[in-house]
Symmetry: C2
């Protein structure tokens, strides 16, 4: 019998937010990844075609941390027709010394949203120009909003432009985020204009064909592509990766299979064996980040198990400090 802590989504929303601490813990995770001591096996992925669904399992062990997380992320894309969210899932924390279950974080994907947005902040902090003030967000969903919040934590964002296939949704996102952040935020019907004017661009869509063309990019810009996390997704024109001065994957082995790099290699824009410094290498200082204000940089984020381990540990600490959660004897 083991006593474990159960945390509901409501508990987790009470104690974890997209704030400096969340960004810092995800940055620490990338730093650990950059030191080469993290154990992070390939993602376990199972497709359930009959239900237009997929389930992914991610994990990572970070030496020195007391626990490791395993995250299960189901994505069932016919759910909205049933009145349910497409994504759900949970994280589990295990003792790194004994393997015993410590906590079940029944977050329905909330912590994934936080750690994904926090990775966007980490990428911007290390790759966007320090004076980047104009953000362009392609997409108008929940991560579109969260990525703008994340940018605002690390860069002096004063202006935001949203583009989405559905202009009404872009407009709604702009109104909401303008009010929330106290900045000028507008929708833009033309993605080329929207991208060209910005200092930092984040793509947050489930697109399967490029929504950002290489010709639209201007010197000094940083792009974070966070929408592609599966075979078949693609947000960036393959030529944009070739055009960038610095391309930074969160995990090279993953972006080759699931990220923008996959499409760039497939189209012949980049060689299959091309090597790039990972975000963790840049955070750890073992590879250079942005070198000049004129460089074009691209971060390709597919989501890593190390982000799950660090955010789950952060959440359990916060929950315990606030007396949240339910004890359960297994």
């Amino acid at each position: 019998m083991v006593e474990i802590t159960l945390l509901s989504e409501a508990d987790l929303r009470r104690c974890v937010a997209l704030d400096d601490q969340a960004v810092e813990c995800v940055e620490d995770g990338f730093r650990a990844l950059g030191t080469g001591t993290v154990v992070m096996p390939p993602i376990l992925s199972m497709a359930i075609r009959e239900a237009n669904g997929e389930v992914d399992v991610k994990t990572a062990y970070v030496p020195g941390l007391p626990s490791f997380a395993i995250k299960v992320s189901p994505g069932f894309f016919d759910n909205p027709a049933l009145g349910l969210a497409s994504t759900s899932g949970l994280m589990m924390l295990f003792c790194a010394r004994t393997g015993q279950v410590q906590a079940l974080l029944l977050d329905n994907g909330y912590l994934t949203d936080i750690r994904t947005a926090a990775a966007g902040a980490v990428a911007a902090r290390h790759l966007a120009r320090a004076d980047a003030s104009h953000a362009c967000i392609l997409g108008a969903g929940m991560q579109a909003r969260m990525q703008l919040r994340a940018l605002s934590l690390v860069r002096p964002i004063r202006r935001a432009t949203f583009w989405a296939r559905d202009p009404a949704r872009a407009d709604a996102a702009a109104r909401e985020m303008g009010a929330e952040l106290g900045i000028k935020a507008t929708a833009c019907a033309d993605p080329a204009t929207c991208v060209a004017q910005a200092d930092v661009i984040v793509t947050t869509t489930p697109a399967t064909r490029p929504i950002l063309l290489a010709d639209w990019l201007r010197p000094g810009q940083h792009v974070t592509a966070m929408g592609s996390d599966q075979h078949g997704k693609n947000e960036l024109d393959p030529a944009s990766l070739a055009r960038a001065d610095l391309y930074v994957p969160d995990r090279l082995s993953q972006t080759r299979a699931l990220g923008e790099l996959r499409s760039a290699v497939q189209s012949g824009a980049l060689p299959a064996d091309a090597r790039f410094p990972e975000l963790g290498d840049i955070v750890a200082g073992t590879a250079p980040g942005r070198a000049t204000p004129e460089q074009i940089t691209i971060a390709d984020l597919t989501g890593t198990g190390v982000q799950d381990t660090v955010i789950a540990i952060h959440a359990l600490r916060r929950a315990r400090a606030q007396g949240l959660g339910t004890l359960f004897n297994t």
Copy 2:
């Protein structure tokens, strides 16, 4: 918010036993595997060397079943020195149509013990002679006992012999199981004699070097090797696989990497590309099982995600029928 069912180990011990129904549901799982429609991705495995630990994640989707399970099995081999079991873990059930969490089965490995023993029964039912009455068990741990119980469900076992490196443990297992099953059960100090006299042999150890030599085998015997489930484990003399008339893996891709087949190929006893019918093929009737009473048959069991999915569904049904479990709103 989703309402899920939490089942503790005590709940699960109350409603699931190693009985005919458990064997039948695991047999159904293998039959589904044999039809080729099951989706079963490779095992996710992460080693934590600092703690002499490993964690494995298994899953399988069986078309037609309402749910799929994901199982997390930590094995931390320094735990006994801390007064803890080496293995622990949990299973999760997800709706096969929406991906939403349905139940958390906090079994600390209990359901794995049941489904592992049940697979031994399925192998014996399809591969041991129908009149097999003398069992030899190599090993004297919990699975040694459970595998003998499993054999007794499917074959007219009247005599059992236990061998273990520690004779006192073999003696204790023999006394206990003789009394429980009402059969003659003894410990045997010489494994060669112990093996040679039996109709059906089960190896249940964490050995890394062969404990059963090919020369000890006699015509008509069936051997189930269930101890090896990791790179580096090995119970059967590689020559025994070459000598067998029929070698049956639970999952060929797994036994090549983790089972007895790995050692047999490594030693050169069998070619790396050798193909064999899987246990599911034999259960489904798409490949022949034992053809004559004289054949020597070997089943190589590494443990499959499909067993986890079927036993978890079985357990949730039983628990609901008995009103067991705790509801929790995520």
